[in-house]
């Protein structure tokens, strides 16, 4: 190599080295921006919302920070775009020159997200606020609290308690998940809700008298009732006639897809003794893999397609809502689209649904076929598309067989018999019409609503402990050791009090059930199995179960 050639090579390498330093500088600056949340540098606040951002940066900086880091901010969607209201809206008020409303409803979100809003409106989620006639509601509002406001019975030192709000358990419990009936304070001491406002198809009230009763502060801002607000329950009954709350999953102000994709988000409501889906998921291999491999979940990806953007583990969103490679990458905001059993009622039902997305309960085959708009099989096939990302068809089909078998075993051995016994007691007049005033009603509720659901849901999401020990084991104990003895006790009491015929009819139902093959172990005994168990216990541990 000549000297001149070497000079050229040195020049070229020197340039490349300089380039590498420039790229390092660029990476460092990008990193710094990202760390400092200086994605904000790219955020341009629209003029209409600039005053909101400036002022709220002083008075409630957190919400501005949440918004600044959001996709909305990146796209130039700001405060007024979501909170804006029309002059005729019931909840409108003037706030520093802008007409806004406090509550942002799915109707507001639908201005930009019509497909998502429509899917959500069709879902069971959006109807979760309609629990007024349910047992759960009766429990919270009547049994746990009180439908009438009552006086305190003794003083609370340090607090001037004038009256007791009996709806408190429902307000802070049920409604925070199911959604409240959003209400303003009325000048007659009552409340103004959507039922009074009677909104039209645009969400605007058609009852000016109700609007006139809304209590407003000196600046004209309507005042909410604490019985209904704050609330982000997923089936909230909004003043504009819409139902639900997008913030239930996406959170206010940062509208995070990332958060909605994580099981903890669903766990705000889907946990506890009666529907522990989050705990069930945590116990399953899916949940275990998620915890282990959360760093590989690519949770910020857009889109977020299982098998394409991540394969480490499925979350609740993956299976019930998100896109997959086999469904044309279609996301749905109706989690019911892929669920083939409903395990909510005492007896699980096949999720054939009608045009209104309600479960078809018709038993006549012809009428049933006519009523069905979307079959359970179609729903299951949609779920199988997700499963197929990681599992073979055999694996998926055999899993579903296992799940079906658990549900059917529960239905046939315990749920339908339990229902029959409770119906017989009621028909014979051995129960009052009031719910929860007799022990057997609590027993039956525990059996299907808590333990029975745990067993079925445990099987649906591969959590063996929930299926067995928190599920079927407790169902069996509740049925044999509580429900049947309590029913017998009621019939014995009836016989003693001269209602022998009623007692006979109920006992006939119980006897017919216990004479079925699956209950014979109790009636005729299972001594051979007991001997075998004892022999094995003796061999293994040197003791039998009967020993104390």
């Amino acid at each position: 190599m000549t000297l001149d050639q070497k000079r050229w090579v040195i020049g070229g390498l020197g340039f490349l080295f300089l380039l590498s330093l420039v790229s390092v500088q660029w990476l460092e600056v990008s990193r710094r921006r990202h760390e400092a949340g200086d994605a904000r540098a790219a955020v341009s606040t629209p003029a209409a919302s600039r005053q909101c951002v400036d002022c709220h940066t002083q008075v409630s900086k957190g919400i501005v920070d949440h918004w600044t880091g959001s996709t909305h901010a990146e796209k130039g969607v700001a405060c007024v775009d979501c909170h804006k209201a029309e002059a005729k809206d019931a909840d409108v008020f003037s706030h520093y020159g802008q007409q806004i409303a406090t509550v942002v409803t799915p109707r507001d979100c639908a201005r930009c997200h019509p497909t998502e809003a429509a899917e959500f409106s069709a879902s069971h989620h959006s109807k979760a606020g309609n629990i007024l006639a349910s047992l759960d509601n009766f429990l919270a509002e009547t049994v746990e609290g009180s439908r009438v406001t009552f006086n305190p019975h003794s003083p609370t030192p340090g607090k001037a308690v004038q009256s007791v709000n009996g709806f408190a358990p429902a307000n802070s419990g049920c409604q925070q998940c199911h959604g409240s009936l959003v209400a303003f304070q009325a000048n007659d001491g009552g409340l103004v809700t959507v039922r009074d406002l009677k909104p039209d198809e645009n969400g605007q009230p058609t009852n000016p008298e109700a609007v006139g009763r809304i209590v407003r502060n000196e600046s004209g801002k309507p005042l909410f009732s604490s019985t209904s607000w704050p609330n982000t329950g997923i089936g909230r009954l909004n003043l504009d006639g819409s139902t639900g709350s997008c913030a239930a999953c996406h959170s206010r102000h940062d509208f995070s897809s990332r958060r909605a994709r994580q099981p903890e988000n669903c766990g705000k409501c889907h946990l506890g003794p009666d529907h522990p889906q989050k705990e069930i998921y945590d116990e399953s291999k899916h949940g275990v893999a998620f915890r282990d491999l959360i760093g590989e979940m690519n949770l910020d990806a857009k889109p977020w397609v299982v098998g394409q953007d991540y394969s480490a583990a499925p979350t609740c969103a993956t299976c019930h809502m998100s896109a997959n490679l086999r469904n044309g990458m279609k996301i749905t905001h109706d989690p019911g689209e892929r669920i083939s059993w409903t395990n909510r009622p005492p007896v699980s039902l096949v999720m054939d649904t009608d045009a209104n997305h309600a479960v078809v309960t018709e038993t006549d085959p012809e009428k049933r076929r006519a009523a069905i708009a979307d079959t359970a099989e179609a729903k299951r096939n949609r779920m199988k598309q997700v499963c197929a990302t990681c599992h073979t068809p055999d694996h998926i089909n055999l899993f579903y067989r296992q799940y079906d078998d658990v549900v059917i075993n529960f239905n046939e051995k315990f749920a339908k018999p339990g229902q029959a016994i409770m119906s017989a007691l009621a028909a014979a007049g051995l129960l009052t019409k009031t719910q929860y005033d007799e022990k057997i009603e609590w027993t039956w509720y525990y059996l299907w609503h808590h333990e029975g659901r745990r067993a079925r849901m445990g099987a649906s999401m591969m959590a063996p402990d929930y299926t067995q020990w928190h599920g079927m084991f407790e169902v069996a104990e509740r049925f044999y050791m509580e429900l049947i003895p309590e029913a017998r006790e009621l019939t014995a009491e009836a016989a003693r009090s001269g209602r022998g015929e009623q007692a006979r009819r109920v006992n006939q139902v119980i006897d017919e059930i216990l004479n079925r093959p699956e209950h014979q172990w109790l009636v005729k005994g299972a001594e051979e199995q007991a001997d075998a168990i004892n022999r094995e216990m003796q061999r293994k541990y040197g003791q039998t179960r009967q020993e104390r």
């Binding site: 020197g14 990476l27 460092e28 710094r32």
Partner: protein
Amino acid sequence: MSDVRGWIGERVPVSIDAVAAMSNEPVPHHLKRWWFALGGTPAYLFVVQIVTGVLLAFYYQPAPQTAYESVRYITEEAAFGWYLRGLHKWGATLMIAAVVLHQMRVFFTGAYRKPRELNWMIGMTLLVCTLMLGFTGYSLVFEQLSYWGATVGANISDTVPVVGPLMKQVLLGGDTYNDRTLSRFFILHGAVLPVLLILVLMMHIGLVRLLGVTELEFEGEDPKTAKPFNFFPEHFYTELIIGLTLMILLSALAVLVPVEMGPRADPQVTPEVIKPEWFFYVAFRWLKLFSGTTAMLTQGFIVFVMFGWPFIDAWLVRRFKYAEISVWIGVAGASAIMGLTMWEALVAH
């Protein structure tokens, strides 16, 4: 200009012309071949290590409670910290590789023979210093690898007869890893070993200058045309090209394969699989093949043989009248080292 030279000349009575003549010593013709011009590579990388090391030391805090967090701060928060740590880590890897390659070149060309025996031994000292820098360097991060690597290293030292327990005490500053161990490693890594390396390197380069570079002849090359050439600018340019290429390579490695944080050291949790850095794989595999004391004694013997190789080689050549005997022994030795390294790299335990 002449006034300035005069002013300096009065105060620093060294002839500039003499310095220019000294630095412009004729370079043997074989150094026009790139592969023979790599002797300066470890020195380049050492300079990179000093510069990046000093910058990293601004942030590093050598105590068990703070070390890991300070390295995490460097990696994740300090300005250009990730880049500096990347350069330092990859610089260390390349430096060790360059020292080993340089030593192999010297070995296989017989450049250690009379009168350069002492310079070979000085070179061996540089190799040991470099490996010690590597060991103490990764011990500073206070990851699981750092903690357990240091613990295993100290326990290995302990197996050396007579002086082993003392070596372990000196290394750890106690019977076991304790609060004072990290500061000991830090002083060794950041002061003692670099200063020692600089002093020995000066001796190494001084002897190269005094004895001259071994001149090699190649088949088919006419000795009349293969004449020495000037250091400046021709060889200087070659070295500059090598230096720039190294910097670009280091920069690319630091960006494309960034250094990450391993799990924090936990004395309560012994990792199921613990391995040292790749340059200790050969020693680690050797330890697994033999019992502790045997392994240490044989390794010590091998290092001793490597130090004294110029004299052993001279004896072998006299005894067997075959000058190439060292090449075959070298091939066997290098194959064994590479084989054991690959073996350790490929198996889990």
